[in-house]
Amino acid sequence: MPGVAALELSVVVPALNERENLAPLVRQVVAALTGVARFEIIVVDDGSTDGSTQELLRLMQQEARLRALSHARRAGQSAAVVSGVRAARAPLVATLDGDLQNDPVDLVRLYAAWLADPRREAVGLVAGQRRQRRDRLSKRLSSRIANKVRRAMLQDETADSGCGLKLFPRELFLTWPVFAGLHRFLPALAKSSGKRVLLVPVGHRPRSAGTTKYGIWNRLWVGIGDLLALWWLLRRRRDPGTAREFTLPASSETCRPTDSGLAEPHPLPEPQMSDR
């Protein structure tokens, strides 16, 4: 595949039975990002039964930057995002929902916010914040309460953690615990990794095709459980931010977490500074 190494952004789209939305979604993402970043789109089909797979195959004939993953059985939105992030080839991943309620144009705003930040290596997440929800009253109300409670408990300073538009470094995401519901806790996890969260206002559109998979009851109880578990685990997080390798004599160099390169024979017993 051409230009794989030079990819800058992988757009991951979890989708369950969204056949009719896929063509406009791909078209809109391509229109939004062409000329902005070298990107790929990865649609993760979470066990659709509506012919989404065939539709994706058709779309791939027209758009070379489109890839598709398929789950053998439904595993949920978080699992779909995780599969997409693992398969992603760019160092930066953006997500958006497969239902077209997120406007792909907003991907540009997220990417621009990340690019514009002078300390972007310290940014763990750029999170879209829907200014005006286009959902039913019950969903808007339950979301608002859930966001308030979560924000108060986890101190994640995020008004809307459920927005599907997010952008994060791939490697950082892969250090976070995987569970169904993870996608709602990315701000808290980014902060617990010692990173900053950037909030970017985004638009929201009413659903034009397909049906929602979320109601109040399939979010309430698991949401409370997720919140309590995360609250506990984040309290129990001890980040040894400054683990250093030392050799002879006591020298200190920051130990790079991702360094798993081949061992070089230690030039002992010459006292020396660590060079890792």
Partner: protein, 249 residues
């Protein structure tokens, strides 16, 4: 068995150490005696903020044993954090952990490695040492036994003794686990959560010869209950897509 010319070790022994100065040299000698000629290894001590000269002692040992490496936390972060730092810095694809207090006998390491290698590649998430006869105070033995029973029945991790310091986990598997203080007691449960198999290997437990323990009843009880409930929830909330395939025209 790796050829002698291999540049990277096959297994990294990650050993968290907090104020264990007197145990470092004998431990390294025992490890070398147990593994020399059997496996290509490196020993990676993680000094979790010791103030008894543990780091200096490790440096002294490095002069004699070139396979010893060490990293240091500038403050005490806990055993799980020490393991995580060690696993991140490890150069081998396979991690074996053991305690620095010498209650674990390195002579048991070959059996633990053998249990891992006996299974098909990629199927084992954790080999857990099981102490057959604990050499601790009756209070610690009783509290451990109760905790193990409760944890085992709630998490169904099939593990009699999850507190044993001897564990073998592939590096990538460890790094995919949720990281929190206390996670080292849940390695079998967390490996199983990822759909991987567990193997148990009986090991010896020796009385502590030097240094002092960092664990009592009360610093394990309440946090242990919280950790267990959180892990129980994360296991319930783990959804495996069975298989993920890339579709292409």
């Amino acid at each position: 068995m790796a050829p002698a010319t291999a540049t990277a070790a096959d297994v990294t022994l990650v050993i968290p150490a907090l104020n264990e100065r007197e145990n470092i040299a004998p431990l390294v000698a025992e490890i070398a005696a147990a593994l020399d000629g059997k496996v290509d290894f490196e020993v990676l001590f993680v000094d979790d903020g010791s103030n008894d000269g543990t780091a200096e002692e490790i440096q002294r040992v490095m002069l004699q044993e070139r396979r010893v490496r060490a990293i240091k936390h500038d403050r005490r972060c806990g055993k799980s954090a020490a393991l995580l730092s060690g696993v991140r810095a490890a150069r081998a694809p396979l991690i074996a952990t053991l305690d620095a207090d010498r209650q674990n006998d390195p002579a048991d390491l070959p059996a633990i490695l053998a249990a891992y290698r006996a299974a098909p590649t990629g199927t084992i998430g954790c080999v857990a040492g099981q102490r057959i006869r604990r050499r601790d105070t009756w209070l610690k033995r009783l509290s451990s036994r109760t905790a193990n029973k409760v944890r085992r029945s709630l998490l169904r991790d099939d593990t009699r003794d999850s507190g044993c310091g001897f564990k073998l986990v592939p590096r990538e598997v460890f790094l995919a686990m949720p990281q929190f203080e206390g996670m080292h007691r849940f390695l079998p449960a967390l490996a199983k959560r990822q759909g991987l198999a567990i193997r148990l290997v009986d090991v010896q437990d020796r009385p502590r010869a030097a240094g002092s323990t960092k664990y009592g009843l009360w610093n394990r009880l309440w946090v242990g209950i919280g950790d267990m409930l959180a892990v129980w929830w994360l296991i319930r909330r783990y959804r495996r897509p069975q298989s993920v395939t890339e579709i292409s025209p």
